[in-house]
Subunit: 339 residues, 2 copies
């Protein structure tokens, strides 16, 4: 027979509300009543049922995490950071991969709400009207990573993607490169696509170089897609001397494509990436990149979210974390000039 909270209340001669208060330490209970309830709980071997507790509290101890693709090391490192904090705070993480599909995003958000998660960490390429409607009506605490959204009441963590892309393009330009190609993500992706591309464009313009469409490669964040794109590109634009790939996975696809076309990296073409995933250090050649504090972003986002779940008022809930340029073998110099 399953022991219920009613049974505990009956035997202790108190109300259900009192048992609930004792179990959850939610409100003060007279010492005498407290002891009686605890005694009955022990006698019956009653284990409070957290699903039932969830009902009373409207808390499940679950945090929803919605990311595009766990097989992308950027997100894996991020999830690692999220996990560290979630675990430390005795939460569990419900992980959802949207594979960059908007319908999946919305259906996952709805599923998470139905599973009564206490809060959501959300990453998307684009915040749409439907997202806004959902977050406004759901009333759940939400933290965005890599996305700002001034018109929504959500916390957020990001770096300055525009400035970082500007810096790494300038790094090439200062060292004499003029034909600097970019591999960009879709511009609908506001930070990784739009902002990084505009940082590149403006850095080139600051050196008097107008945007040259033939130096702009478009790809997604997949190695294999970037590899094919760069091989096609190289047959038409062999005169390029530097490539700024807007993610490290794209940089890996680019270097592999260059090598398979018999072009030496960095001696004939220099390549830089973005993110600093662990493989950036161990690729051959190792990859010059913009280091995002990925695991730290996951940790910080989760700390803010859990504080908001607990009803705390969090100041500085929209953070821009610092990035860093890291020079490695895929560019010829190990110094960032002017930094």
């Amino acid at each position: 027979m399953k022991i219920t909270i009613d049974e505990v209340a009956r035997r202790a001669g108190v109300s259900k509300a009192t048992v609930s208060r004792v179990m959850n330490d939610s409100k003060p209970v007279k010492q005498e009543k407290y002891d009686r309830v605890m005694q009955v709980i022990e006698e019956l071997g009653f284990i409070p049922n957290p699903v039932a507790r969830g009902l009373a509290h409207q808390k499940t101890g679950l945090v929803g995490v919605v990311i595009p693709d766990i097989t992308n090391p950027f997100f894996a490192e991020l999830v690692k950071g999220i996990e560290e904090v979630v675990r430390d705070k005795n939460y569990n993480m419900v992980l959802c991969n949207t594979f960059h599909n908007f319908e999946k995003e919305m259906s996952y958000l709805k599923m998470l709400r139905e599973k009564y998660v206490d809060g959501i960490i959300f990453m998307t390429a684009k915040v749409t009207h439907e997202h806004r409607e959902f977050f406004r009506s759901s009333q759940l605490p939400v933290t965005f990573i890599n996305r700002k959204c001034e018109d929504l009441n959500v916390s957020s963590i990001d770096i300055d993607n525009y400035q970082a892309a500007h810096d790494i393009t300038t790094f090439f330009l200062k060292r004499g490169h003029r034909r600097v190609a970019i591999i960009r993500a879709p511009l609908t992706d506001k930070t990784s696509g739009y902002e990084r591309f505009h940082g590149y464009r403006d850095a080139m313009q600051a050196y008097g170089i107008e945007l040259n469409a033939s130096l702009v490669m478009r790809s997604n964040f997949k190695i294999e897609n970037t590899y094919r794109t760069v091989r096609r590109f190289l047959r038409e634009e062999p005169a390029v001397t530097a490539i700024f790939a807007t993610s490290d996975l794209m940089a890996i696809g680019a270097i592999k494509a260059l090598q398979d076309e018999g072009i030496q990296v960095p001696h004939q073409v220099e390549v830089a990436g973005f993110d600093d995933i662990p493989m950036a250090s161990y690729y051959h050649p190792s990859i010059t990149t913009v280091r995002q504090p990925i695991t730290e972003m996951g940790r910080t986002a989760t700390k803010i979210l859990i504080r908001e779940i607990n009803g705390e008022k969090v100041k500085n809930r929209n953070l821009i974390l610092p990035y860093q340029l890291i020079c490695r073998e895929s560019t010829l110099t190990s110094k960032v000039s002017g930094e």
Copy 2:
């Protein structure tokens, strides 16, 4: 005011059990009662609460997934396969990373039980007495990946790790290599450690070569640790001509170490890995390896688990899936002789 199932029952003039049957389609209900309940549900705008439903049913629609480390691409690909099926069946995945820590494993298992997951997909290096006790007492459906456990009532998915390691070692031996080194995982890890090492040892012995401890490198599954191990090794054993790394991440660490010591891969030393993670194709050089059907293993494990959650009797619940040797640039031949 929150509408409860009691309120619905009272207004429809039926028992709570009847309301529950209507809501869950669990048992037949007379048409007249059914209609009355549905009418009240509509009038009240009653949305069945899935947490409450979970209480009645003992089902939460959550599957626990316990893996060592999501930043290892093997596990990321596996989780991708799990996700595909979980989503398709309207479940959600609670993801737990143990970072190869036994205490974390046990504490996560207990947390998952407390969060009332409907089943668990479990990966561990070693099935201990505590694991056995937990799985025997919890009565939850459980599927192991990469681990057999004949004495427990669990389903499992694996490949023949011993034979795959034997094959890849023989591939080196048939082509004239005699000083074949191995980078092995801890032997406490029964499949990836013990079985792969024994496949190597027995393949060497079949060629009359006794186990040479100085050709055995010990590492974990981390690139950086393997990189350091191989650099140390090369200063003492420069005469090695082939290295069998028992995972692709280890192979990447080994190739990077060889290159940093000025040793050409594959011309001076050949290297093979294990797993066939996506990076194995895109590393430079691309890596000869044993292809495990990783995503498929995740999908199949989840399908079996969900059938068992639904109370189905699953035949063939302990599967050994096929593997394949894939030759790439890290070995000089593109053919597997004798295959």
